[in-house]
Every structure is written in structure tokens, then in C-alpha cells.
Subunit: 353 residues, 2 copies
């Protein structure tokens, strides 16, 4: 970026993100993101990266939904704030994704808004990548039969990301909406992995068979769990992605009780994750601890484990920085004169003269 | 906005804001903002507008600064989140305003980001307008001698806004930086009101003479107050604008103790406003209560009063909505394809096909 542009805000929208993903390649981008996240998790300490737990407004009017903010601060460099809306009726009512997000990146040298980055696709990507990082530590190595419960947008990046760190041989997918379930094989065609759509009634068989399970539903508050307890592989690893609100859970308590449950962010998970039904002292290490000391946990690969993924603002900071590096390199993004700069910073009306 | 544009994000940057202020006229715009704020304050209840107190990251590296977020939710319509950076070294080090802000506006029907609005000039305008609303309730009517302590960007909008609700006959201005002080008369020339720059040593005389005082300094944490206690008019009204952080205060405790102190947002002021040194039970009504029951407080116009202005997220919501109405009417703003929409909301990779 030239010095003259340094006071402008870079808007990296849908077309720019598409250009970046096309140029870099979706597999390579996801691999980079998985690698960056693993590094950031392992290196994380609160002195160098401060993160706030998610807060937001939840409402029932005009429809059920919420808008939340997820701030992270890389000390000496940037603040990244992702804002995310969750409106489960969006796909059916408005042809929009249920999760809509953008990340704003502020330089802490001046506080100026350096960039605004599309966050919807990036949220799906980073959520998949975080599951891949946890799965890589906790799941058995070797061929992987993958189960997916909830065949929406998150299912695509969960399956893609898991396939980058384990040889996924087959995918079994369940959704309560038959149309959504039926379309998943087409959306996952690029993976070249057989995808079998399974009737919700056969979910116990899926649980019994798979090595890794990703639950990524829009289950309603108080309507979970979406999986009944039952027999499963002794080494079952679950990435529980859909639980992100008080009362919104996907897994049966008995399964949680016999698994090692690792929260992404402890304070957040005990409020809105699967861990909201567990005692803190019964939880495993958090994501940062898990990755930092991954050697310690190798034995857990033969035991049932759960990654309680509520979403960490650090993930959004890392994802947006990766996008911005590519945008810089490729000269992508629209530069907007969004914030006043002036030869007289003491005169707010200077812009009129 | 046409239906096809409804999934785009409207970016209202510096040039657009300048065009709006030019077309509407600065006086008229400020009058509209003062009117809208007064209405919003009087009508405010937590059922229809939820506001969060300001939170943020504060840091000492690479320089002292902070980035904060101020969310507000107008139930059934929008969430507006202003993010604001405060970096007091900006004017001298970077030629940027010390306060840099943008407001993001989300439609709660879908959670989509409907607009991003320049917030630096708007913050100065709404802070001035809020002082005008409080001053209009609490200050003696008739000719007004106005004092300004801190002659930076906020001084311009404080003076302008007060002049819209009282006949300001003269302005006395003080700043510890002689250059900043000396330039204020030029920046206020558009008001056609005599502006006299006063040496900081003569601040007691200013306090003694003025009817209304606006303190709007960048006083350091622990370095206040900026005004020493002393004689003043029995009806002195002070708008204390600079106090917005724990330990950052402008007024002497004795003056606060003998004044009726009205916080803009109680929970925020007791943490970071002038009120941080007072007991809650010693405070006057908050801004909403003050405006709602303005008739009750007419007698206070002959007593010393302080408006403790820390900044309310509701003000930013109202200001950004006013700008967006004008932008809509005038067809201003750049429409950006910032958030993914798709004929398949279940496929995050759709943008690549």
C-alpha cells in the first residue's frame, strides 16, 4: 500500500475474496488458515493477544435473530472486530446465509479503520479450520469415516477442512430438511469423496460407524440435543459447532460425560457451548492449551473427545489478516475515503472547505 | 434504494458526508440532529432501544490509545455499532484527528450490514448536539457568554451547537497549546461570534465570567482537573465532554459537589465520567430523564449544573440514521458487495462458481 493510501480504508468484499480464493486455490487457502490458526493457538497468551468473549443483542422482532460482536487485539498491531448476525430464517425467507459477518480491522498506531473484510465465507472457513486443528490433535490418524449432522453452509467447510488433515474415505450426512440434505453431495462434489445422505431416523447408525462427527445444525434454543446417545467407536471425535447460545446444544449429556470435552474459549463455552451443561473441573484443556501441548494428548486419540467450538475472536483476527495479506499482494480491495483525514485535525468542518 | 440493491452495503464516506452537509447546510443539519436527539432522549426506554455501555481495548503500544465499541439496538429496525479510536498523539504525530470513528448499521430483519458511515465528524457533531440538548434544559435563557476549555476539534462543534440554542454573544477560549488556541477563531469564523483566546493563566477569570462552559480537552489520565475551583456565576452550566475514562477528569470536585450533575448514561459516567468521583445518590437525573421532564427542572437554570457527557451509543445511532436518510434522499454513498448473498445460501463456495 502506498503511503498516500495509508489513510484510506480497504474494503475487501465478495468479489475480492472470490478473486483471492481463486488465485490462491481453495485447498491452499484452507491449509494456510489451518496452519495459521494452529500457530496462533499454540502461541496465544493474553499479553500479546487480548480477546473478548462474544456479546450481542438478541431479539424476537421482526424475527428471531441476533447481532453480536467479537473483538480481538493483537498488541502493538491491530484490533479486529467481527460482527456477526445469526438469523436462522434467512435461507428460506431471504435467500441469505443464516450467518452474515464482516470483520473490521483497526491499526492501533492511530485507531484508524484500515480494512473491512467480508466475513460470512471467512467465518465458515475459520470454523472449519478450527475443527481441523482440534481434530488433528484429538482424532485417530489414518482413514476417516466422517459424519455430518446439519448439512447447511458450515457442513461444507467442516468436511473440507477435516479432509485436509485426515484421509476422509466417505461422508455420511444427515439433515432434518430433505432438500438441504439432498444438495450436500453436489456442494461437496469438489472433494471427490463419496457423500451418502442418510435419513434422520438412521442417525444412531451414523453415530455408531463414524470416526469423526461434525454437528453443525441451527438447532433451536431448548430443542436439542440433535444426536441421541448410543453406541459409537471408542475413538469417536466430535466437533460440536452449532452450540453457541444459552440453551442451544447438539450433543447428549451422556456422550459429553464420557468424552474429554475441550472448549475453544472456556468462559464462552460454559455460557453458550456444549460445556454449559458441564462443570468447569470436568472439562479438558482449552484449544490453546490443546495445541500448545499436543504431544501430551496423543493417548486421547483412542478415547472419545469433543471439541466444543463456539467461535473465538482470535480466529477471525487471523482469518482477516490472512485475507488482507493476499489482498495486499494481489492489489485487491476497494480503497474508500471512509474516515476523515485533514491538514487540520482540529477542524471537523474542514471537509466542507 | 432499489430491491436489487438491498443486499449491498452502503458506504457513506467523507465525500458523501461533505456533500450531505453542504446540501442540507451545516446549521440545518445540526438543528435536525439536536431535534432528533432531544426526541430520542425523551422517548427512550430500554424496551424500544437497548444500548450497551462502551467497552474496548486500551493499550500503551505502539503509543497510548484505545479502540472501543458502542452498540445500540432500535428494536425491530437496526443495530448500530460505532467503533471509535482515541489516540491523543494523532494530530501532532500523524495529522489525524485524535478521535476516529465509523458506525456500522445492521438491519435486524436479516442481520446484514446495511451501511458503514463516517463517524469522526459525526461524533463531533453529535457530542455538540448532546451538549446543546442538555444546555437548553439547564442553562439560563438569554444572551450567553460561552467559555471553551480545550480548543481542539470538539470545541468547534460545542460552540456551534450551543450557538444554535442560545444567543452566544462572545466566546472565551483556552488551550494549553498556544497554536491550537490561536487557530480557534479561524475555525469558528463561520459563526460570526467574537472569539477571544485567553491565556491558560487567566482561566479563573473565564470561569468567573461565563454563563456556559464547555470543557473538551484531551487531559491525561490522572492529570486533571483542567479547571481549578473558583468564583463563578450562580447559574453556571458546564458541559464536561473530555472525561471518558477512569482517572480522566476535567472539573474540580468542589465545583461538582455544589452543582447538579446530570450524567448522559449513569452506568458509564460513574465509571469514566466526571461522576466517577461522586456517589450515585448525589447525581441528578440522566439525560433521558432530564429531557423527558424538562419542565420540572426549569428552576435549575439559576443554579450551577454540569452535564457529564461521556457519549451515548444512542446518539450515534440517531446521527447515523439521520445521515443515511439524507444519503438515501440524495442518492449518495457507494454501494459495495461486501457480504455474500447467493442463490444457494447453503454453499459458502458458491462465490467461486
Amino acid at each position: 500500500m502506498s503511503p498516500a493510501d495509508r489513510s484510506l480504508t480497504r474494503i475487501v468484499g465478495v468479489a475480492d475474496l472470490a478473486a483471492i480464493l481463486t488465485e490462491v486455490g481453495l485447498d491452499t487457502f484452507l491449509d494456510q488458515l489451518i496452519g495459521r490458526l494452529a500457530t496462533a493457538f499454540a502461541a496465544h497468551d493474553a499479553e500479546t493477544v487480548e480477546t473478548e468473549i462474544r456479546r450481542g443483542f438478541t431479539y424476537g422482532k421482526p424475527a428471531f435473530g441476533l447481532v453480536e460482536w467479537m473483538p480481538a487485539h493483537e498488541v502493538g498491531r491491530v484490533v479486529a472486530i467481527k460482527t456477526v448476525g445469526y438469523h436462522p430464517d434467512n435461507p428460506v425467507q431471504h435467500g441469505l446465509a443464516s450467518v452474515l459477518a464482516t470483520t473490521s480491522v483497526y491499526e492501533t498506531e492511530t485507531g484508524r479503520l484500515a480494512a473491512v473484510v467480508e466475513g460470512t465465507v471467512l467465518t465458515a472457513l475459520r470454523t472449519g479450520a478450527a475443527s481441523a486443528v482440534a481434530t488433528d490433535v484429538l482424532a485417530r490418524t489414518g482413514d476417516c469415516l466422517l459424519g455430518i449432522v446439519g448439512a447447511g453452509a458450515q457442513a461444507v467447510t467442516q468436511a473440507h477442512a477435516i479432509s485436509r488433515i485426515r484421509p476422509v474415505t466417505r461422508i455420511l450426512a444427515v439433515d432434518r430438511d430433505p432438500e438441504v440434505a439432498a444438495s450436500l453431495p453436489h456442494r461437496l462434489a469438489f472433494l471427490d469423496i463419496p457423500v451418502e445422505v442418510v435419513d434422520p431416523g438412521e442417525l444412531p447408525d451414523v453415530l455408531a460407524e463414524v470416526d469423526v462427527l461434525c454437528t453443525c445444525t441451527s438447532v433451536g434454543i431448548g430443542e436439542g440435543p440433535v444426536v441421541e446417545d448410543g453406541p459409537h467407536r471408542p475413538w469417536l471425535h466430535v466437533n460440536a459447532v452449532g452450540s453457541d447460545f444459552p440453551g442451544k446444544v447438539e450433543l447428549p449429556e451422556a456422550l459429553l460425560a464420557r468424552s474429554i470435552v475441550c472448549p475453544d474459549v472456556l468462559e464462552q463455552c460454559i455460557v453458550e457451548g456444549e460445556a454449559q451443561r458441564l462443570r468447569v473441573e470436568d472439562l479438558g484443556p482449552d484449544l490453546a492449551g490443546l495445541v500448545r501441548h499436543r504431544d501430551r494428548y496423543e493417548a486421547w486419540r483412542s478415547r472419545p473427545t469433543v471439541f466444543d467450538s463456539t467461535g473465538w475472536s482470535l480466529e477471525d483476527l487471523v482469518a482477516s489478516e490472512l485475507v488482507l495479506e493476499h489482498a495486499d499482494r494481489l492489489g485487491l480491495g476497494v480503497l474508500c475515503d471512509l474516515q476523515v483525514r485533514s491538514d487540520d485535525p482540529y477542524d471537523p468542518y474542514r471537509l466542507l472547505r
